[in-house]
């Protein structure tokens, strides 16, 4: 019983503790972000249930979106079709996927695809940050959808301890305890998070690229996302291994390899020398 109370107190303390740490201004900002996110989600949900309604109207595009449309018509239209409505057998519709999805796929170089295969790989990005933003703007204006908050400071104030727990419940099963990635069925895989930026991780959680489940803002709040990103970036990605070389953090399989390749080989050489005729 006491242990249960302890546990609950710990959890509540953590939940309460976070706002207490933050400044009031940031709390207001957080509320505003949440409001915006909720509005956008509502908008996104609407567009999901009413696809094409806007697309057919061809509403006037803002400047950035118009630039984005120009880029889209050059590089993406082959697979995703006119007005991003998708081409059967080549590429899905992008109506309602939101700017978050575009930002993730394009800035990590996964789109445009090099070839059709089980899963897109990370590549050096084809488009500049500015072009990515324009493409994202275009897709966003076409069909709405989730958006990553502005700015590069999205993990500020993240709590690594809370983030670690969320990471273990929601992320390690696919990405592994060291965020190095893991295999999925039939050639699909969860990628390593080591090359991912804060915004890309955020965008991936929001949009659920490829086979990754979606972690919307109602499930994992923006604050919790910041916690998770803080844990990944600050605890896992820095070369912080107090116990020496980490052997790639693949778990016991590389440790087993090491004991034979290092331990046994060294000691067999030693015994060859000891017993050798001198």
């Amino acid at each position: 019983m006491t242990s249960d109370n302890d546990r609950r107190r710990g959890l509540l303390a953590r939940l309460r503790g976070r706002p207490a740490v933050r400044s009031r201004g940031r709390r207001r900002l957080g509320a505003a972000v949440r409001l915006i996110a909720a509005l956008m989600l509502a908008g996104g949900a609407y567009t999901v249930f009413a696809p094409g309604a806007q697309a057919q109207d061809n509403p006037p595009l803002t400047g950035a979106a118009a630039e984005g449309k120009a880029l889209f018509d050059v590089s993406c239209v082959t697979c995703h079709g006119r007005n991003a409505q998708g081409v059967e057998g080549r590429g899905p519709s992008l109506i309602g996927v939101g700017a978050a999805s575009v930002e993730f796929q394009v800035s990590s170089g996964r789109m445009p695809l090099a070839r059709q295969e089980a899963q897109a790989h990370r590549k050096p990005p084809v488009f500049t940050d500015e072009q990515t933003r324009q493409l994202a703007e275009y897709i966003q204006e076409l069909g709405g959808g989730p958006v990553v908050p502005e700015g590069d400071a999205i993990r500020d104030g993240g709590n690594v301890a809370a983030g670690g727990e969320l990471f273990r419940v929601n992320c390690v099963q696919c990405h592994g305890f060291g965020a190095g990635g893991g295999a999925l069925s039939s050639g699909k895989f969860a990628p390593s998070l080591h090359p991912a930026t804060d915004r890309q991780i955020y965008a991936a959680m929001l949009s659920g690229p490829q086979n990754m489940p979606v972690f919307g803002d109602n499930q994992i709040t923006p604050e919790q996302k910041a916690d998770i990103i803080a844990y990944i970036q600050e605890t896992l990605k820095h070369d912080q291994d107090p116990g020496g070389f980490n052997l790639g953090r693949y778990g016991p399989s590389t440790e087993g390899l090491a004991i034979f390749l290092v331990g046994i080989v060294a000691l067999v050489f030693a015994s060859l020398w000891i017993a050798g005729k001198s």
């Binding site: 249960d4 546990r7 609950r8 959890l11 939940l15 999901v48 727990e165 419940v169 929601n170 099963q173 696919c174 893991g182 999925l184 069925s185 699909k188 969860a190 659920g208 490829q210 086979n211 990754m212 489940p213 979606v214 972690f215 919307g216 109602n218 499930q219 600050e234 605890t235 820095h238 912080q240 291994d241 107090p242 116990g243 020496g244 020398w273 000891i274 001198s278």
Partner: protein, 362 residues
């Protein structure tokens, strides 16, 4: 048997008088070895006293021991003065353990190689031959021991007095059982107490109250909390529901895309689980039916659920049927709905046994 040896020593030689003052110490050593059936056939100093080679090897060995001293001192210095309390991202402290290991390793390796060089290079080389006395059986000894054993048996007279043997067995068998009883009896535990193997936390309510699905921090879940193509790990909303005490209760609540949900509903109806889903939401046990790992690698496009321990794959849209790997039984589905306050609840407990298979699972 085989008495063939390579000795040059005469077989029936007289033992030396070890008190003979003309003998050298080596002579006595060799005599001792001979008494143990060992012939030292080759004995050759590798380096002669006073030669350059000897001085060089001595310096090498001494050098090794000095390295040990230095490394051990460095170990102590690092142990005491190096910042040792690890804090991620601070810097030097992450080298504490590697430095300790490296200095200790160098110290031990150097002392090892010092000793080895000493033994291998400075001591005389020798070849000795020892007789194994393999197969030389002391037949007389065998006979005597055998007869002694038989005599012992006679003395006890178990053969002549069978009652003694029987009563001994009858008396001692329960004693052995007495020794085993506390161990077995203390450890043994009834597995079906409270029907625990067939129930989970979702069936724990009294008076028909339905159990809510809650997150890992205890908050209940609304349908809007999980986006389409999303999944969330849920627990029974009871005391200690989110703990290892209810290790078989963790459940995966999945919000399927509408076309996949349609497929799932049809599959559900085929096996009479028509009302298990709520809207596009379905809940499956997270505990793999194969070995009990959390099968939680949900692929939202293929709707496969992969278990990372042994790679069993379950097709969610077909009642979580195992489609690949060693699992032989589908993941049990939790019947769910939304209560009047808009939170997910379990309509009842799982209707199939959760977790790894066992003999008496009906």
């Amino acid at each position: 048997m085989s008495t063939h040896t390579e000795h040059q020593a005469p077989q029936g030689r007289e033992p030396l008088d070890v008190n003979d003052p003309t003998l050298t110490r080596f002579d006595i050593v060799r005599e001792g070895a001979r008494r143990d059936d060992i012939e030292i056939v080759h004995y050759e100093p590798q380096v002669l006293p006073g030669t350059k080679a000897e001085r060089r090897l001595t310096r090498v060995v001494a050098g090794f021991f000095l390295i040990t001293g230095l490394a051990a001192t460095a170990f102590l210095a690092i142990y005491i003065w190096w910042p040792w309390q690890y804090e991620p991202g601070r810097g030097g402290d992450k080298f504490y353990t590697p430095l300790l290991g490296a200095t200790l390793g160098v110290a031990l390796l150097a002392v090892g190689f010092g000793i080895l060089t000493w033994g291998k290079k400075l001591l005389p080389k020798e070849v000795s031959i020892q007789d194994r006395h393999e197969g030389v059986v002391d037949a007389e000894g065998r006979t005597i021991t055998g007869q002694t054993m038989l005599y012992l048996a006679d003395e006890l007279g178990v053969k002549r007095r069978p009652l003694l043997g029987i009563s001994l067995l009858a008396g001692l068998a329960p004693v052995a059982a007495v020794a085993a009883a506390p161990l077995v009896g203390g450890l043994i535990s009834q597995p079906h107490k409270n029907n625990q193997m067939f129930t989970t936390g979702f069936g724990a309510a009294e008076g028909g109250e339905r159990i809510r699905l809650v997150r890992e921090d205890g908050r209940p879940i609304r349908p809007a909390d999980v986006s389409a193509g999303g999944q969330i790990t849920v627990f029974p909303g009871i005391e200690e529901g989110v703990s290892n005490k209810h290790a078989d209760s963790p459940t995966l609540l999945i919000h399927l895309r509408s076309s996949d949900a349609e497929q799932s509903r049809r599959a559900n109806e085929r096996i009479g689980h028509g009302d298990y889903m709520w809207g596009d939401y379905a809940a499956f046990s997270k505990i793999c039916t194969h070995a009990g790992c959390p099968a939680s690698l949900y692929e939202q496009q293929t709707n496969r659920l992969l278990c990372p321990c042994h790679q069993s794959q379950f097709l969610i849209t077909d009642n979580a049927r195992p489609v690949f790997g060693p699992a032989s039984r589908r993941l049990p589905q939790l019947p769910i709905e939304v209560d009047s306050e808009g939170f997910f609840v379990a309509k009842s407990d799982y209707t199939e046994t959760v977790g790894p298979d066992f003999w008496e699972r009906p």
